[in-house]
């Protein structure tokens, strides 16, 4: 296989990491909404934690994206 082709395939595979980030962010906001509908008065106090969880979950997916970008543009 040509090195160039392997580079693009590798970048594509690395992007699968973003599926995990999507699932994680969905879980966080879904569960937050579920909890917020059950107990709306407690919801605003937890929004900071939701954003923290969102940022942490998003970052793990971005690690994969960075590998893909490095493969495409820096290798």
């Amino acid at each position: 296989m040509e090195a160039e082709a392997a580079k693009y395939i590798g970048a594509g595979i690395a992007c699968i990491a973003l599926a995990g980030a999507g699932a994680g962010i969905g879980t966080i906001f879904g569960n937050y909404l579920q909890g917020a509908l059950r107990n709306p008065s407690a919801a605003p106090g937890q929004f900071g934690n939701v954003l923290l969880g969102f940022a942490l979950a998003e970052a793990t997916g971005l690690f994969g994206l960075v590998i893909a970008l490095l493969l495409l543009f820096a290798v």
Binding site: E4, L51, L52, F54, A55, L56, E58, A59, L62, F63, L65, V66, L69, L72, F73, A74, V75
Partner: protein, 254 residues
């Protein structure tokens, strides 16, 4: 970031990595060390000057009824003060200046990076890793100063059966050692990925002619999202520093 990658794979001259290129503005050579004043250094100076100007201007006329600028400064102070109080506790307030300057630096670096044709300092791993490494070393030293060798007990979860200690101890140590890496890569990856994505979508606007309106509309939303991420990552960086600090000061107990 190396940025010669766009040549030769038919992307019509689009180079989303070009914006991260470090260029030397004033060449300074200190023996074997290349200490040139680069555009990254320039933007770090701009970030610090902006923060200083903002804080000095907003607090120079301390009115009882705050002006808009003054209430902005008060809000950012209260925001971080509450964060430190909630996550580290009362005795953590001594570290408030450190957390506050860290948060303001990352926030302003991210926000100034959103200005077109500017340079995002935090999109470089060396900048974020240097910050994360110093936080890690400082916090670890603090733990050993506060608790002596008892800080090693931090790596043994409380209520653990003795038989499991040799298994879990190395895992805990490794997870502790990855903290500076995850802290720095999180900020760096968010900034790098966000700005690259903006650049890629911006190039679609030009390439698609009249239909470029569609990615243009999308770009407006993405830019809003990037501002949210710029703030969120500064917040996450500060709050994780608070959590690490709390671990060092109080070990397991909250």
């Amino acid at each position: 970031m190396a940025s010669e990658g766009a040549d030769g794979h038919g992307s019509k001259g689009i180079d989303p990595m070009h914006q991260f290129e470090v260029k030397s503005l004033v060449d300074i050579q200190l023996g074997p060390v290349d200490a040139s004043f680069t555009n990254a250094s320039l933007w770090m100076v701009i970030v610090v000057v902006t923060i200083c100007a903002f804080m000095l201007l907003s607090t120079s006329r301390r009115a009882l009824i705050p002006s808009r600028l003054q209430s902005l400064a008060e809000m950012s102070y209260e925001f971080i003060a509450n964060m430190v109080r909630d996550n580290v506790g009362k005795d953590g307030m001594g570290y408030f200046p450190f957390i506050f300057s860290l948060f303001m630096f990352v926030l302003f670096a991210n926000m100034l990076g959103m200005i077109p044709w500017s340079f995002t300092v935090t999109s470089h791993i060396i900048v974020t890793f240097a910050m994360a490494l110093f936080i890690f070393i400082g916090v670890t030293l603090l733990g050993f100063i506060k608790h002596g060798l008892g800080f090693i007990g931090f790596f043994v979860p409380s209520g653990l059966p003795v038989a499991l200690v040799p298994v879990l101890f190395p895992i805990e140590v490794i997870s502790y050692l990855t903290r500076p890496i995850s802290l720095s890569v999180r900020l760096f990856a968010n900034m790098l990925a966000g700005h690259t994505m903006l650049k890629v979508f911006a190039s679609f606007v030009g390439l698609m002619g009249i239909w470029g309106v569609a990615p243009l509309v999308f770009m407006v939303g993405l830019t809003g999202l990037e501002f949210l991420v710029a703030f969120l990552q500064a917040y996450v960086f500060a709050i994780l520093t608070c959590i690490y600090l709390n671990d060092a000061l109080h070990m397991h107990s909250h």
